[in-house]
Symmetry: D2
Subunit: 341 residues, 4 copies
């Protein structure tokens, strides 16, 4: 059955598959020191306009968050995040497994505000007993958020500014980064994002790769033994080339952005279809994830024809449903959707 359930229910973009086949027989160095990984790293540095950036390839999002955060925190520190953040809510305690508290802030549309961040930090350092409290050691945001929403350039700069004031590094989870960068609603480019944070990752798994995320420490600021920390977290791939080749392809001829733009465009058409049918958005997302409130009977009817996520109950008679597009969503999929709504 046709599925709009998520952006990782398929294989990889055909150009990646082609490249894997072309390179399959060649022998390379291992653990990420192969020529494809080296090339991919250079392409990413150039795309970010960060010549001093350090790039590492890991396998998936939770693994990447846990490893990066562990490398940036001291043992007695925690990471500040929205209460709805992936690391706070959906990673089975991977951050706490590494010994760190996720210090949560309220969210609005999945985003934290610079004001709430400052209030937390003022309160912490204003507390007489602050040494008995977990130290805020870094700030984590997502772009786009769990709800597909986006920080604006000015919101990002404001948050960065509070981070600098308190000397906290800023880390951006970009599991779906492409969809944020290519949204019509976004005023943030990859170089802009890279220049306004200390580390971020470029999500591959949810943007056309088979697996893999590219971590970027934007100004030569990776932990000097980040490689060992990756290994300790079980996140080092023996055949590192598997991820290197994928990112080398994704960053050739802007494939990464083309994949994301394609999905966004189709998502906007899904949104229009649902709005035209009179359904209301639960949240107004400008990216490839669309959250709509569907009456339960309409939802059940639709579920006979396509697959989608039932996100959460909205009220007794309706449910928040999620519809997601990806590299693999086709024109014909939208035509079919139009026919069954």
């Amino acid at each position: 059955m046709l599925s709009f359930e998520c952006d990782y229910n398929n294989g990889c973009h055909p150009e990646i598959l082609k490249r894997l086949a072309e390179t399959n027989d060649l022998q390379t160095d291992t653990y990420g020191f192969d020529v494809y990984s080296t090339s991919a790293k250079q392409r990413i540095r150039e795309a970010c306009e960060c010549p001093d950036a350090q790039v590492f390839f890991l396998g998936g999002g939770t693994q990447t968050n846990a490893t990066v955060i562990d490398s940036m925190l001291q043992s007695y520190q925690g990471v500040v995040a929205a209460e709805t953040a992936h690391i706070a809510a959906h990673e089975s305690g991977a951050i706490e497994f590494g010994g760190h508290k996720v210090i949560t802030l309220p969210q609005q549309d999945g985003k934290i505000s610079a004001a709430d961040l400052r209030a937390l930090l003022v309160g912490f350092y204003g507390d007489e007993a602050y040494e008995h409290i977990v130290f805020p050691g870094m700030v984590y945001i997502t772009f786009p958020t769990e709800y597909g929403t986006l920080y604006s350039a000015s919101e990002l700069v404001e948050i960065e500014s509070v981070c600098k004031e308190y000397d906290l590094p800023l880390f951006i989870d970009g599991a779906r980064l492409g969809y944020g960068l290519t949204s019509d609603a976004s005023d943030i480019s990859l170089p802009f994002l890279a220049h306004h944070c200390d580390a971020f990752y470029i999500g591959g798994t949810k943007v056309g790769a088979l697996c893999g995320e590219a971590v970027v420490f934007t100004h030569g600021n990776a932990h000097p033994h980040f490689f060992s920390i990756i290994k300790q977290h079980g996140a080092l791939f023996a055949k590192g080339r598997l991820i290197g080749i994928q990112f080398d392809t994704l960053f050739t001829d802007s494939l990464y952005l083309r994949i994301a733009r394609h999905a966004n465009e189709l998502a906007m058409r899904v949104k229009k279809m649902l709005l035209d049918k009179g359904y209301k958005t639960f949240i107004d997302s400008p990216t490839n994830q669309q959250f709509f409130i569907l009456p339960n009977d309409a939802m059940e009817q639709l579920a006979k024809h396509i697959v989608f996520s039932r996100w959460a109950p909205y009220d007794d008679n309706s449910t928040v449903c999620r519809f997601v597009t990806s590299w693999s969503t086709k024109e014909s999929d939208l035509e079919y959707l139009a026919s069954v709504i």
Copy 2:
């Protein structure tokens, strides 16, 4: 340059690549619940002759060891292993990161003995202060070992017997399992191995896959929340199908064993070539890793033509070198090797 450095310096076996391409466009469930993973699990259960086995797919060896061991130990327990075991020596402290001690035993040819294991356990429970000592909570062995050597069926049964006596589960690291099962020197089949341990994993990364290891809990004995523990360790793949498809292919028409047998056969020919040249083995390995003592000048000479590992200094004038074959080693590679030795 032609490389005999390791068995993971290439892509995957062509049949796997073909299957990835064939399935690429199909939409599936995620996180390992796809049809390919389901099929692969069933094939593995059948190959093991363990109808109650539970099978899980993870990304790499260190990750698999850390996750499985963590799921099998209580917080105050440690895992018993050879002092040369991968988990003791080459995983950057991944086991300790999970809070557990690796309790080491002496090794002979990379193997522990049932006698040494019993002595450790007798000593532990004989110690008045045993509650101040880390409890041995499970036993870890590798098949083949770091040195390519093999436990015999009777050695395995003896170790299993001590484990049963002390109620300790036995876990076998099979990062290179295929090479062990198909060695002419081995009297252990996959069903035999599966029936004489509590858990093991079938290594994919080093036996023809792009990535992935298949963990088998042999008799329905997986931790009831092993899925969450995988996620907590950052070891859950969103596109679980990537590994499922690979193992489904590896366990179709015995591809897994064919790959391993091929590599073993070529390795035996490499061994013969080196012996014929008058070089001595450092350790007599019956599998795809060959360890030879090379005079340093011969080693330097050879290094001009092919790539191989310098394992460790042997004495002032010679070095232990490792030569490894894989699915991708070809007849012509051996001919070339013969011409440059």
Copy 3:
């Protein structure tokens, strides 16, 4: 300067000191196996009316919470607590250090409600992706709370009932247990409390001892290797007798309750004094901690004469202040306080 800052700014109750002196020269077993500890454990079992209870002595509150919680949770589980709970806010991440998330619930007067607890659990098991979320593995409450307030017997039973429904153990932090049990506002006795939870601890440090907390697993349900877990947490005292002697004394002739009742009585008189002066309570505490809103100028004036805590700003012109009594607070201290308010 006379201090009402806290209940641990002094030595121990004189009867304890006397007993330490009397026993000082005697040789005993170590690590808690001495005759005094054995006697204290029996007295505690009797006071709780729990003949099957297992009692252990640890050094301080954070240590006790971390050790007990770690022993009761599986690695992938978290502990449910009020957002203001000591373990959530004031223990420097000791619970996360052990790998566990503190899952917070809203609080009212420092207390959680059975309704909020049930809502959390219903939501968790109702979530399709619950295996990606930290499992609630136990419930933690404090008696009295951080604010000196008390759960009623019916509130406790309601919470216990939800715990039983979801098969979650209930652990009560009794750092100031005595003050709760002896408050005129309390309808909970020690046996009642012990019979309505799975584990709790009897705070010594804040109720007249030099150090030490007595953990009670109420029905033989301690982890079978809790002793080793104590040691692993660095919480085992070589001279275990130090804590055993203190608790043996505290549970002789109800000294523990006498100390607490004395402090409560004086606290009620402090409360009356402040109310009579026209000050308002920030929270209406029936135990030895009193929280009052003081105008900042009155606060500064008072601070010239006595020591107390500035808990938190209330508004621009006033501050929440905390006044605490203990075993050592004397009649004359109250007379002095009356003279300087």
Copy 4:
């Protein structure tokens, strides 16, 4: 029954008890900021001749080792120690609980050698795959060792020298420090020791205190948030004065050294008694722990009269037994011992 089992089977030295009584009614600051702790810290700095030293008080040895080591290591590092070291063998995995490997070296009389340490470090940095191995991050030795033996000044300086060469801090576990400093066989004074390591602790529990160890970072090199790390480890005492008063007393009029010298002198007489009877030492200890090989029938006979430790079997007919003296051992105890050997 008279016991020579250990040095912590009694109360505290009477001068400490007296001081606890004298100060009992006074109100102080908490968490180690009281006047007694402040005074004790200054006395310790003076005794060490380290004006920049930072001193912290913790409760017991395992707790101190775990907390100090955790504060000095990065997450991917381990601590180097003798295979017989307390942290390697007798702390229930407290170091691994903090995520760190104990990297063991061979021991001779309980001591490591500078040569073995250098060999380990040369090997580590000489290993091509060193980033896959746990980094040696600090060195841990004990003075005296588990066997009561002592490093000489020159041995200590040699070890320190290797540490400096590889930029590894040196930490000395002084659980029984006094007995080492006052042994006739020792050429190491407290200032000498303090000037040749980065951190050490002065054991109180086993040298006359009720509890408590004083950690000394010798040159202002404590982790800037060591206080929070103590709290996170559950090692912070609310009534910090309990330990402060004890160390203030121990470092007044050299009580600490007097206690230790007394025990050593009596231990030398115990040694002579046993040698005179024809028994052999298992190890020749110059401090308060004496290890002798006793024929099993003699051991059983002696056990009818006094308590001592059966350390380990020596051979089929004899056992290594340990006899320990302390502040509380009296002339009359030795007379009794003489009468029953």
